[in-house]
Symmetry: C2
Subunit: 422 residues, 2 copies
């Protein structure tokens, strides 16, 4: 089937990307009909843009979106998805219309998995699953698959998400909270040496990055039980930096922070841990069912998986997670410095060694100015800076896809705002 | 924020739709730079197509996709989604990037729900939920929410999906199969009078349309228990015809047949039935959690819900489900007639009164020709006609979005094929 002419409403942006993407290029067609009268003419946008000046900024209509998830996606990924939406690569249909068992979608999901394995160096000891139900379903799936009802498990709670995971686990096993940062307002990760870990815990659960209070693990604890495993919710820092997957028995991550739209949850699980799910486990929560069927037991969230695949390709093109981590450290560094150098006008309460690279919560010394801050930032096309409803204050989520320019603009704005309101 | 210029790679199609959609129109800009030399020029596609001849057929690159789900989507819906993908209605971001709790996405999900209520005339006695996990998760959610472990429930099994629902329910209650069509190859629905329904069954479960064998309920049984409710899996005929929702306690439907992409499952449940889920119910499977939070307890499958919303709008613009049903009856009628009039060259085993309007399975008298049939159909851009892997033969799925032209083309092809191979 002939390839569909490619186009994009923002073709002028294509030269600006640093990544070589073979997506929509417009090349001039000889078939343009120049108007000889006032009659409207047809434009078939199949053209190559050549020799265009590279642009330093994104489309003027695009905002800098600091939301915590769903979150900003890489612009080039969005544009590519847009180009391909109606007709994916000559298939004559959209990804959304494909049979999940057909060869086109199989190629999409297989490539997404292969690219993720490459990014995180995931060995064949581990299954990679693309599931529905979000991380919140995993709060149940993890104990249902890894434990029996009488099994002890340890939860190290450094924020709201770890707390929710703990509460859900109570239904399915005997979870114990080995440390809870709540009384200190969730602003640190404890020293691992001081923890009282259960010697017989089937697993130790952490939330690697907590979005609400902005605390991120920089290294990982070892389970108290030598036969126990480490389990991590990495929803909000997944693919933001390298991770030694071999330290973990299971990693789960909702896609909608760093790697895609909502509706996909990725589970990386050591294969030997699969196959002993409790009898009450719904079939859709049973890792063995999904692993045996390469995530195709039922209809997977196809379009979301496709989007994740585009993101994984993009991350590989950027040079992989070491390069991505450098960018994230730079962005976060600029923002934390601005906060630290503001002489208290802006404050971030998180213990410095565990400040998240992904979510930066801060308050204003003059809290009465917070509403004005948000309003003026929005006028400058910086949106979703309001802190989580359970916390208040401000929060800038600066995932992989937040451009450096967005952070720079925010910091510049923060300085001006301080000058105006000091 | 200024609206993003709208474009579509298939702008020439826009006049063909019967539905007035205010999506991408291209109007000629005065800013076109005509090439005075061989230097390539820029095209900014923000133009209106006026006075174009209406087209009778879809883009020449688009196939007729007879897949059973995921399935073909309405072309105008795809084009609209494509247009809006990068920047939704001046928001400066994609739907995929929106905070699910922000006002833009709230407006999207609220409109989707309102339109669905209008389509199916759903009263406020019912909650409408947009969930993840597919219909397969509902196989567990239904008994977990509606029953206690010792409760009896009845399953009327007319195909593979009803059978799977029954098997999953065994984990959570005491399901009884009151009729099973398997021994007859699932080609009919029994008379309701002859059924031995349990007088104390909490619910009676049916699968309103079975995709694999092509059997569709044309009317509905009444539970044996006067206090029991009727539960239906309507995944594959949802919104294909009017339904009296008041006959049901609960209806569930994976979107990816008639109303959207995969990753969204809609549940319509009477509110008084919610709130007594078994203790082992994962939070993500608890209807009360989702009803209390308007499907926003956690991050919903936002883009999928948005796509469903576009489909609901389109169905309303077509005049609602009565009009949609007429179209479906016409399409199915043409195809079944062609089969019936083929003097046995094509055969459909389903009892005529329950032939599905959505899925038409058929075999060739000369079964050795089936591979050739599929290959030649594919050359003619009619794809996914192979029967389900558990059945073999052929299957044409002709959901709402399959154009009449697709069915006409298939029938014409079938007649030619027969003439060639008789």
């Amino acid at each position: 089937m002939a390839a569909t002419p490619l186009t994009t409403p923002n073709a002028h942006l294509l030269q600006k990307t640093h990544h070589s993407q073979s997506h929509a290029f417009l090349k001039p067609k000889t078939a343009f009909h120049y108007p000889t009268s006032r009659k409207p003419f047809s434009v078939s946008c199949s053209s190559t843009i050549q020799d265009r000046p590279s642009l330093q900024s994104q489309s003027q209509d695009r905002v800098f979106n600091f939301a915590a998830g769903p979150a900003t996606l890489p612009e080039n990924v969005l544009l590519k998805a847009q180009t391909e939406l109606y007709n994916w690569r000559g298939s004559g249909m959209s990804v959304m219309e494909m049979s999940h068992r057909g060869k086109d979608f199989r190629s999409i999901i297989e490539k997404a998995e292969a690219d993720l394995r490459a990014l995180l160096n995931i060995s064949e000891d581990y299954a990679v699953l693309f599931l529905q139900g979000g991380a919140t379903t995993q709060f149940a799936s993890v104990p249902l698959n890894l434990c029996q009802p009488d099994d002890t498990v340890d939860y190290l709670v450094t924020g709201s998400w770890g707390d929710k995971a703990f509460k859900e686990a109570k239904k399915y096993c005997k979870p114990k909270v080995v440390w809870n940062g709540k009384s200190e307002n969730y602003m640190r990760v404890p020293s691992f040496d001081g923890l009282e870990l259960s010697p017989n815990a089937k697993y130790l659960h952490i939330c690697a990055n907590e979005t609400i209070y902005g605390v991120e693990f920089k290294d990982y604890p070892v389970p108290g039980n030598p036969n126990g495993i480490l389990v991590a919710d990495m929803s909000s820092n997944f693919c933001s930096k390298p991770v030694d997957v071999t330290k973990f028995g299971l990693i789960y991550a909702g896609a909608q922070k760093n790697v895609g739209p909502s509706g996909v949850c990725i589970v990386i699980v050591r294969k030997d841990l699969i196959g002993n799910a409790q009898e009450i486990t719904p079939v859709m929560l049973d890792y063995k069912i999904h692993a045996d069927n390469n995530s195709l037991y039922n209809t997977p969230p196809c379009f979301g998986i496709y989007m994740c695949g585009l993101v994984f390709e993009d991350l590989l093109e950027q040079g992989g997670l070491k390069e991505v981590e450098k960018k994230n450290e730079k962005k976060a560094g600029i923002l934390y410095n601005a906060i630290d150098e503001s002489k208290g006008f802006y404050r971030c309460p998180v213990e410095k060694s565990v400040r998240s690279l992904m979510n930066v919560p801060f308050t204003l010394e003059k809290s009465e100015l917070e509403a004005v801050f948000l309003k003026e930032a929005e006028k400058e096309k910086m949106v979703q800076l309001k802190g989580h409803r359970s916390v208040g204050g401000m929060r800038a989520s600066i995932y992989n896809a937040m451009p450096l320019a967005g952070v720079e603009k925010l910091v510049s704005f923060m300085k001006d705002f301080q000058a105006k309101h000091a």
